[in-house]
Symmetry: C2
Subunit: 402 residues, 2 copies
């Protein structure tokens, strides 16, 4: 398996494009994207667990009842959630895309991201859709158009083989705020040219989501619009994957690579983030235990603020473990911080060590910081990803709507 | 019942004092407090639910096995949690207080607050304790000595009657960071001169804690050192309360008034807070449902940051309700904001209203802002308290230890 360029257009038969249709005021910011497959694709999806769901989620769920789709349309600048005419406008967005591409409305996935509760300017989308020129290398155009407070567009693609036949998986995503474990917690659109049974595609997506996107947290808020979609159009012409055989395992692993890479990009570009935090809990008794502890640490505002200040306040790591709700033996806990500048242990067997504060500050000043927590029990390991809590998070969210 | 001055010294027979013993570097900041009852008092307590507990919690629990105490010693500047010699130092702190006052060590409650994981300078306490002059009006000295990042000392006292006999309840507390529902989530020391059975005292404390301190959130972090203690020395000479009669109800109500008042002071002085938020969920089906929804709103970083910016981003209110994990009918939800500057409805039946943005900004610019959420179901009402998320929260916690 190797990382390649091309994002969602890396797999055979996919095109993408975007335009500024007018939902956003700034002309320089595109706000409408389409991803298109030349043939109908088996399609799997996971959605937000928030009880309050945007109408595009309901429309997409209905359109995917047959596990097939041929295009994704996504607007930024307005979430079309809790908004007047929400359902009607989500359907009109799908229809506009379908008519432009000459496909059935039921084969269109609709996604929206942006402010909640305001009416979607559907006329902008209906009039703007024809401005989109689909391109064989248009992945980055789409990736830019779905950004909200993201500072960087996010994509990833891999090439791997099934029975000697080259296959490709590519993805784009947007993250930033409202990022928390439990569901996609963002928008991610993944394409592949693999031929695979729809139920196995869904299974691989669900299992990988648990270990990738659901292990990222930015601020503990789960959005109303989250969605992760995988389209598989079969154009690689591999022998169709219809059981959990070696080819399925290879596919699932390649898909996980793309998803994990995108997940880490989301954490690293979390709203206002100045650094990526990866928290690894190891020597755990069970995966569930390690995951709960790692998520609790990654979600602690106090810990995240300390990381912003490069302050080796490991007491907050232990404290966050303590209120996670899971059992562990405090007297066996070791804690270290690591980065490109070195590694420093700060806690041994649940008690503080005398450590070199200057060295710790240096380690924690890197753009990517690891927190390593050993439970001294068995051999389970889980890593979760997050970011620090900064002035900019407060600034961005103190006046998001204007 | 009337509010009076005097804090923990308002009830008969209680004295308090404080000194700078040297745990904190700044000479101008006192760091050691004692609250003393002239006679042994029936004593009840609730503690942090964090699995990682400071050693003072364990020592206090043991000392309260007989439900009696005569003094509280509390240091700030060091939590004595996960620290070398933690257990030994907590015991030595109790002993130093006992020897100074000429009482048994088992009648001393020990509390600590401050940084986690560093060794407590126990010699400072042992040598400093004799510098404390207990005073009949020393409540504010103690209230100041237990502050950490609090910007204001916090106290409250009430006078009420049992069978025509005047009784008094007074309290001091500290809050600021690491404040979240589930347990005291801070330090609160409450005194009263009521004569009451120890088990009824405990019962009143536990039930009131659920509806007061446990409805305050600052940052979602639950500390290792939280403790709320009530001492009742019986010096009011009321007929002892030994059953859940009218006198018990009057006592419990008066105690709740003090606890709620202290709780709101904690929310209002949350770390970095610029305004107090009170979130009321009404017309709910059950109290539990209303409480979960109100807490979820109050805990949302996105909502808190919007309140800092006086941004009427009500979508974040609905979003936080959606991921709270409890059921409600979105199509019946109404949302309004209110303050001294007026009231403005922003959402009706789950959909956004066209509202006057200028007026909303004005309403949200007040020091105390109310969020009113109607579920349109039955008649249950719950209010939770919190504060906004500000630059100062990040600043304070970005470098807390230095």
């Amino acid at each position: 398996m190797q990382l390649i360029k091309g994002g969602v257009c890396a797999p055979r038969g996919f095109m993408a494009g975007a335009c500024h249709c007018g939902i956003r005021k700034s002309q320089s910011k595109s706000d409408l994207a389409i991803i298109y497959s030349k043939t109908k694709a088996k399609t799997a999806a996971v959605y937000t667990t928030n009880r309050v769901k945007a109408d595009c989620i309901f429309v997409t769920k209905e359109h995917l009842e047959d596990h097939q789709a041929q295009a994704i349309i996504c607007n930024s600048g307005n979430a079309n959630a809790c908004a007047p005419y929400g359902r009607e406008n989500a359907e009109r967005e799908a229809l506009a895309c379908a008519q432009y591409l000459g496909i059935a409305s039921e084969d269109v996935i609709v996604a929206s991201t942006g402010v909640i509760g305001q009416e979607l300017a559907i006329q902008c989308i209906e009039q703007g859709v024809s401005k989109i020129e689909l391109q064989e290398d248009g992945s980055n155009l789409a990736a830019q158009a779905i950004m909200t407070t993201d500072t960087r567009s996010k994509d990833c693609a891999v090439r791997f083989e099934i029975d000697g036949i080259p296959c490709h998986i590519g993805g784009i995503c947007k993250g930033s705020g409202m990022i928390h474990p439990n569901m996609g917690t963002m928008l991610a659109f993944i394409t592949c040219d693999v031929s695979i049974d729809a139920h196995l595609l869904q299974k691989a997506l669900v299992e990988n989501t648990k270990r990738t996107f659901n292990r990222v947290t930015v601020d503990g808020d789960t959005s109303t619009n989250d969605m992760c979609v995988v389209m598989a159009n079969g154009m690689a012409r591999n022998k169709p994957i219809v059981s959990e055989d070696e080819a399925y395992v290879a596919f699932k692993e390649a898909l996980k690579t793309v998803m994990e890479n995108l997940a880490i990009q989301i954490a690293s570009d979390g709203e206002g983030a100045s650094r990526l935090l990866s928290v690894t809990v190891y020597e755990a008794e069970t995966e569930a235990q390690a995951e709960s502890l790692a998520k609790s640490i990654c979600s602690s505002s106090l810990f995240k603020a300390a990381m912003f200040g490069s302050d080796a306040n490991w007491g907050r790591v232990l404290c966050a473990m303590g209120y996670s709700g899971v059992d562990f033996d405090i007297s066996k806990v070791d804690i270290s911080f690591a980065s490109q500048y070195g590694k420093i242990q700060v806690c041994s067997q649940g008690r503080g060590l005398d450590f070199d504060e200057k060295m710790a500050k240096k380690v924690l000043s890197a753009d990517a910081v690891q927190v390593l927590v050993s439970l001294g029990q068995k051999d389970q390991v889980v890593t979760c990803w997050g970011c620090d809590l900064t002035y900019d998070y407060v600034k961005i969210n103190g006046d998001y709507r204007t």
